[in-house]
């Protein structure tokens, strides 16, 4: 595989006269934890939906794991994992049943499913709860389980759309440990978040403002470039109405 996991060039999506994503250009390197930041409605989710093959772009080009988003969305779907903003597990099924379902959907053999689910459940310390409906599990566990299920078929790239919203700080920390672990295993992680402290954990981040990328770089670079003390300040500065998103972008 190439060392570029995601390569987007002038990627655009319009809905009628509204441009949700406006010529964004960025790349994500293989094995990187890439933070995809932006206010609500800035176009993050639309961008992710284009990259995951859920939405056809209106213009521009993008390759995900070397596959073209226009013509090879089926190949993309096999190589990526996805955890949606909303919860993506079936709440009335148990963790084990969810794993079995998604394993089957991604064409894993029964043996693979069995092995990986045991491995996963013991790693998450969920052995005892594996037979209970997911709905009865604490939110933190559910989120970790959802991530693990998204990784079940060992995707090259995993898209996490606000995986930690509504989760307590301790669980968030644990969740990020899981993200790092995933990245160390060679999986590229693209994650969106509203928590600016989480942005600091990322290798590189981009901040979307009104459909465009207002800033792109490592957290340290960006703080230096925009002369702010934290990503939080940077975000507010970029996202504040009236501020010029192009001022700092090069």
């Amino acid at each position: 595989m190439t060392d570029v996991a995601i390569d987007a060039h002038d990627l655009t999506r319009t809905f009628g006269s509204f441009t949700a994503v406006d010529r964004i250009t960025f790349d994500v390197r293989a094995g990187e934890v890439f933070g995809f930041l932006g206010a609500n409605g800035a176009g993050k989710t639309t961008a992710i939906r284009m990259l995951t093959g859920l939405l056809t772009p209106s213009g521009g080009a993008a390759k995900v794991a070397g596959h073209d988003v226009y013509t090879e969305s089926e190949a993309i779907k096999r190589t990526i994992g996805y955890m949606s903003q909303r919860f993506s597990l079936y709440e009335d099924l148990s963790p084990r049943e969810n794993i079995r379902l998604y394993g089957g959907i991604y064409d894993l053999t029964l043996k693979q499913i069995r092995e990986r689910s045991e491995q996963m459940l013991s790693r998450l310390g969920m052995g005892a709860a594996a037979g209970r409906p997911v709905r009865e599990l604490p939110l933190g566990w559910r989120q970790k389980l959802a991530l693990s299920v998204a990784l079940l078929h060992r995707p090259a790239i995993v898209f996490l759309d606000e995986p930690t919203s509504g989760v307590d700080p301790v669980t968030r920390r644990q969740f990020w440990e899981l993200i790092y672990e995933t990245a160390r295993g060679g999986t590229t992680v693209l994650v969106t978040t509203h928590y600016m402290d989480e942005a600091e954990y990322c290798d590189r981040i981009s901040i979307m403002v009104a459909g465009r990328i207002g800033a792109l770089g490592t957290p340290a670079e960006l703080k230096q470039q925009f002369v702010v003390s934290s990503i939080d300040d940077l975000f507010v500065r970029l996202a504040r109405p009236g501020s010029d998103p192009d001022a700092g972008a090069k």
Binding site: L54, S88, R100
Partner: protein, 370 residues
């Protein structure tokens, strides 16, 4: 293939985990058929009747006692004068009046007795039924009198002209229950898929399925098949019920009826999927599915109002409703005992409708992603 089996297993697990919904889905048609079946039967009981008999003689007395003992009529008043009838109609005290002329027995012997049957026409359907009931009493008397070998050949003339065909067993359920089956099956079926699919939309699991390599077709088949089974069980329950409770005959092939029921359920499930593909919340989907099935099936399927008597525009519109075709099929098979040689066009229509709806649903899954 394995992924499809996984989806099917998941759906079965959903259904098993939610026994209350399953119970509702299975019981609702059965209960609805009982309720509707008794509520909308057009059989008339307790007909409030007034008899005008200016000069009672042996014939009018005999006929009056027949009205009294027919079981259908409640004789509210026996009047002397025709003029007294009108106020009773206006107050709503009576629905029907039977008027004998003077010297009825004598004129009958001469072969020219006249009587008048007046009905409250505010409800035309009921009115024609009432007329028919009253006439049947008269005819029965006439027939029996003639049979006893009296001199009179039974030339009893009746002034009321009646066009509605008489339902000799007075069982409207024969006509209604097949339509009712269509009605409840289509509602339940389309609701089931519409709700379960929009639930996946709301919880975000549908998105997870859509980013997976699953084809939209597999997702739809995975949804349709388990509910097809449930709908089918429900259909069997309703057919058994029609037989046991309403004594609706099964003159044709049960197997053919079941096969067509399966087709009809498939069309309804597909309709539900189409509705849910275009709505985003369970509540909207429920409304959508109910509206898309309930009103057309009540008004246009021929279940209550005969399709033949609709204006052309509605008649054309009714062709688009799966229920209209299934009502014809079910009535044909159950009541007339016809076979495939008669119901194949309707069956073909159901097949085509299912295919069109399923394709549209699969497409709108794709379109949703565009």
């Amino acid at each position: 293939m394995r992924s499809l089996l996984g989806l099917l297993r998941k759906e079965v697990q959903h259904i098993r985990r939610d026994p209350r919904t399953l119970a509702v889905v299975l019981m609702l048609p059965v209960v609805q058929v009982v309720l509707f079946g008794f509520a909308i039967r057009t059989d008339v009981d307790h007909v409030r009747l007034a008899i005008v008999d200016p000069a009672p003689d042996e014939t009018t007395l005999a006929m009056r006692s027949r009205f009294t003992s027919a079981g259908v009529f409640e004789v509210k008043a026996v009047l002397q004068r025709l003029e007294d009838l009108e106020p009773l109609f206006q107050s709503g005290d009576i629905q029907e009046g039977v008027v004998f002329e003077r010297d009825f027995a004598a004129k009958l012997r001469d072969g020219d007795a006249q009587m008048l049957i007046v009905t409250d026409g505010t409800e035309p359907n009921t009115a024609s039924l009432l007329q028919a009931y009253a006439q049947s009493v008269v005819f029965a008397y006439q027939r029996e009198s003639a049979g006893v070998g009296r001199s009179s050949p039974g030339g009893l003339a009746i002034t009321a002209q009646v066009r509605t065909r008489f339902n000799p067993t007075r069982e409207s359920s024969n006509l209604f229950v097949p339509g009712l089956m269509a009605f409840v099956l289509t509602i339940i079926s389309s609701l089931m898929t519409a709700i379960s699919l929009t639930r996946e939309k709301e919880t975000g699991t549908l998105e997870a399925l859509l980013v997976s390599p699953l084809r939209p077709w597999s997702i739809i088949v995975g949804k349709v098949f388990p509910y097809l089974v449930i709908g089918f069980i429900s259909a069997i329950a309703v057919i058994v019920e029609a037989r046991l409770i309403f004594h609706v005959p099964m003159r044709g092939s049960l197997l053919l009826l079941l096969a067509d029921a399966l087709l009809f359920i498939l069309a309804s499930l597909s309709l539900g999927i189409l509705v849910s593909a275009r709505t985003s919340s369970q509540r909207v989907a429920m409304m959508g599915a109910a509206l898309a099935t309930m009103l057309p099936n009540i008004l246009l399927s021929g279940f209550i109002f005969p399709v033949e008597s609709m204006p052309l525009a509605l008649r054309l519109l009714s062709n688009l409703i799966p229920g209209r075709w299934f009502v014809e099929i079910a009535r044909g098979i159950m009541l007339k005992g016809v076979g495939l040689e008669y119901v194949w066009p309707q069956s073909v229509v159901l097949v085509v409708m299912s295919l069109v709806l399923l394709t549209a649903a699969a497409r709108s899954f794709n379109a949703r992603l565009e």
